[in-house]
Amino acid sequence: MELYQKTAAELSAMLKNKEVSSVELTKAAFARTAQVEEQTGAYITLTEEKALADAAAIDSRRAAGETLPPLAGVPVSVKDNICTKGIRTTCASKMLENFLPPYNATVMEKLDEAGLIMTGKTNLDEFAMGSSCENSALRKTRNPHNLDRVTGGSSGGAAASVAAGEVSIAVGSDTGGSIRQPASFCGVVGMKPTYGTVSRYGLIAFASSLDQIGPFGRCIEDTAMLADVLMGHDMRDSTSVPREYPSLTAGLNADIKGMKIGLPKEYFGEGISEEVSKAVLAAAETYRQLGAEVVEISLPLSRYALPIYYILSSAEASSNLARFDGVKYGYRAKEFDGLIDLYVKSRSEGFGPEVQRRIMLGTYVLSSGYYDAYYKKARAAQRAIRADYAKAFEQVDLILTPTAPTTAYKIGEKTSDPLQMYMGDICTVSVNIAGLPGLVQPCGFDADKMPIGMQLIGPRFGEQTLLNAGLAYEKASGLSNIVAL
């Protein structure tokens, strides 16, 4: 077995036992990247020099007898909407193509503290707006399971980097499914933690009330280990939740006897492909055999989730992205006539079509005369959806659903129809709207050998229950550590 095929947990053990050095691991990661990157296109920026220096530093600390955190010395990729001091952070946009952040995101500090080695910055849909990674203005990312297919998005680069073995773990972000849907498309594990449990300080905002950073891995344990590094309270993010963050890795337990799992009937009907439905229902059957109680439940407001999501996320995006005006940083039009022209040209030339579409949509729903009908109503509906979930969690411990209506589709298949693309988010957005944790892991393959992912949704702060249920299924199904290419 090659190093690149190993899980982070395995690499961690090897490092601890001095069977391998971090420099060797890092070199192996870049060797694998050199081998597959041309096909996957996972990265926008590779930071090999810094990675090797960081790895050497970890090695010398270990050699000096220091006890290091579990993932110290393990390579990790980071989505390119997370600020890295002095390292280009583009959001896959022409707008920030040459932007060097003057500071590190809180999660970067946490990765540093835990001794992880960042290999580079991964591709995404521009400003995380999209579901296929095709909206990147800088890079084309392909699904390692089939290079003609999309990776999903927006964290398509992160998912691809893990699926292709360029790294074992990756940091992504999820606003409406941006970790979970590409994890599903690429046959890996991804978790969107509870809103407020991972600091957003330094995550370039798309929709502040929905954005959440989270981990990717090829198995549940790796995902838990990286989640342990990322999660925690941060004074610099006022939406960060002050509470205890016990180790999820230490709490892993595959015994799920007596656990109650709900299947919301609204997630298995029209619009969801039969192959996907079948695979998820088969997973439900596995849970039954493992001793869980599986019951049908109802989330009646699910059908409103998509419009609510596109109203709220676009409204916030229109304001969050207003700072990209060509004045302080980022793209500035070469020629302009006065201030307004500077704004109009810089923004028209710097932002791609999907970003412009969302900005216009968001500006519209916040405009006086429309605010009450759209934004205010969507906020009220958001509260109703939260109540819907709260009611469901009085009955069950977890909810099991498909992650996306289909498996990864062909590159270019949906780019001409934005609405069709938006429909692909139907299974994931309500989790963000309700601020809940969601876990996605592979549960089979379709006839074209493309991975199918299932989604487990938990109550607020229910990450441990999610990961335990995930681990139980992973062990039973053997669908773990799938490396493509």
Binding site: N81, I82, C83, T89, C91, L96, F99, P101, P102, Y103, A105, R200, Y201, G202, L203, I204, A205, A207, S208, S209, M235, R236, D237, S238, T239, A315, E316, S318, S319, A322, R323, F324, D325, V327, K328, Y329, L339, Y343, T363, L366, S367, S368, Y371, Y375
Partner: protein, 477 residues
């Protein structure tokens, strides 16, 4: 026809917190361009605001002092617009739920009581500054960006520029009493926008209002209001109509010009800032805020007239300055010297010293205790009033006690009867002509003789005792 002006003000005051409203950068004025900045206040991608609780505290203090209802759950909203001095392209402010609502202040205009109601007071962040003379193009200085402000919006209760000026002075005094604003007008720590309309005297319906911006001093506010009232009356007299618009005041030209009309009013697309969770002022915090409100100027003003017997003008000078009023009240509370004396010292020598040096009391070392010590020595004839002035200068500038200063400068008066008698005898012996004049009925030579005695004592003789001793000795001669 006679017209009545109807005026409402929007006053912005910079709060004197040490750090900015959403980051830990300093709020100090006058630093080199873009040195008090960080990722948060320059709107770097990904940076997040965290509300400075001191801002909530200060804003609520102003609300309590002006009889407002305090909304104890403070939410923040985004006001979206593009301008180069606004790095996020939105200002974090408060929209539908301001921290303070429905208050008022009372004050006097030409001796008549006047009340102006507040619609609201809310907190928000200041923008940066555009500098057009720093070399090529325009430079944006973000030092001021994120300095906390409160915006105070009045009801249209003001009916003349004189009332507006007194209102603004009252706000300024209140802010300084609460110690929540530096009130440095030249640094722009208080600024105001003015809304003006006019209506036929005796009618109730409000006329069309015009907003005026760019008013940078209280005296400019008076000029701007007078100008705009006259302009509107002229338009109406000529049969025209007032157009709802925003006009820019040009104080150097003493006129205003249209900035924008109602049609191109901006849509700020306010919505709750998702980066900031609501901050709750719990009841304990409320009690803390309430306990910090000192007796306010209007009340002290009345008290100084009634209890100390000051003239209204004198009472105003002291009650307008929080530190002077505190000095007076603290001195009076010691109960050791005449209250009027303390007031006199504050009105005369202390005010003169501060004015001459351009200082405030807090910049000096003077304390109420030492001021009272000094006055007490004068009352006991230990030092002369003139010596007191010399002691005062030392009290401003050193940490020495009054006794130590008196000793150091050798200011203790000679009040020993034997010593004074000797002094008087010597002076009388040296001035036989004056003695003769006195005996001849020219009683006013006594002044000359007192002067000679003071001179001989090098200023240390107790003038009162010298006077008495001279009279006694001369009458016995």
């Amino acid at each position: 026809m006679r017209y009545e002006p109807v005026i409402g003000l929007e006053v912005h005051a910079e709060l004197s917190t040490k750090s900015k409203i959403f980051c830990s950068c300093s709020t100090a004025f006058g630093a080199e361009i873009n040195t008090h900045v960080c990722p948060v206040c320059t709107g770097q991608p990904g940076a997040l605001p965290v509300l400075n609780k001191q801002v909530v505290h200060y804003a609520a203090k102003m609300g309590v002092a002006t009889h407002c209802h305090i909304n104890q759950l403070c939410k923040s909203d985004r006001k979206n617009y593009f301008y180069p001095d606004l790095p996020k392209a939105y200002q974090i402010s408060q929209f539908d739920v301001p921290i303070c609502e429905n208050g008022y202040v009372d004050f006097e205009v030409d001796g008549q009581p006047k009340r102006v109601r507040f619609e609201r007071i809310h907190f928000e962040e200041d923008a940066g500054k555009l500098l057009h003379d720093e070399g090529e193009g325009t430079v944006v200085d973000f030092n001021r960006c994120g300095v906390p402000l409160i915006e105070m919006v009045t009801r249209p209760d003001i009916h003349s520029s004189a009332e507006a000026k007194e209102f603004l002075e009252t706000i300024k005094t209140t802010l300084s009493y609460l110690q929540i604003c530096d009130c440095r007008m030249e640094e722009g720590s208080i600024r105001c926008d003015v809304n003006v309309s006019v209506r036929p005297e005796g009618t109730e319906e409000l006329g069309t209002r015009v907003e005026m911006k760019n008013i940078n001093s209280f005296s400019a506010a008076v000029r701007a209001i007078d100008y705009e009232v006259n302009r509107q009356i002229e338009v109406l007299e000529d049969g025209g109509k007032i157009i709802q618009e925003t006009r820019r005041w040009d104080d150097s030209k003493v006129k205003n010009l249209v900035m924008r009309t109602k049609e191109d009013a901006q849509d700020y697309r306010y919505f709750p800032d998702p980066d900031l969770v609501a901050v709750e002022i719990d009841d304990e915090w409320m009690r803390q805020i309430e306990s910090e409100i000192p007796e306010l100027p209007q009340s002290r003003y009345a008290r100084y007239i009634k209890e100390i017997g000051l003239q209204p003008k004198e009472a105003r000078i002291i009650s307008d300055a929080y530190d002077k009023a505190c000095l007076l009240d603290e001195g009076v509370s010691m109960g050791r010297v005449d209250s009027r004396s303390i007031a006199n010292w504050i009105l005369s020598d202390i005010s003169k010293y501060l004015n001459d040096k351009g200082l405030e009391l807090k910049d000096t070392k003077l304390t109420a205790g030492k001021l009272v010590d000094m006055i007490e020595l004068i009352e006991k004839n230990t030092i002369s009033g003139n010596a007191g002035k010399k002691v005062l200068v030392q009290l401003f500038e050193t940490d020495d006690s009054v006794d130590a200063i008196v000793d150091k400068l050798g200011l203790k008066q000679v009040s020993d009867e034997g010593a004074i008698q000797k002094l008087v005898d010597e002076v009388l012996a040296a001035n036989p002509k004056s003695v003769a004049d006195y005996k001849g009925g020219k009683k006013n030579v006594i002044g000359f003789l007192v002067g000679q005695c003071m001179k001989a004592s090098k200023g240390k003789g107790n003038p009162k005792m010298i006077n008495q001793c001279l009279n006694k000795t001369l009458s016995q001669m």
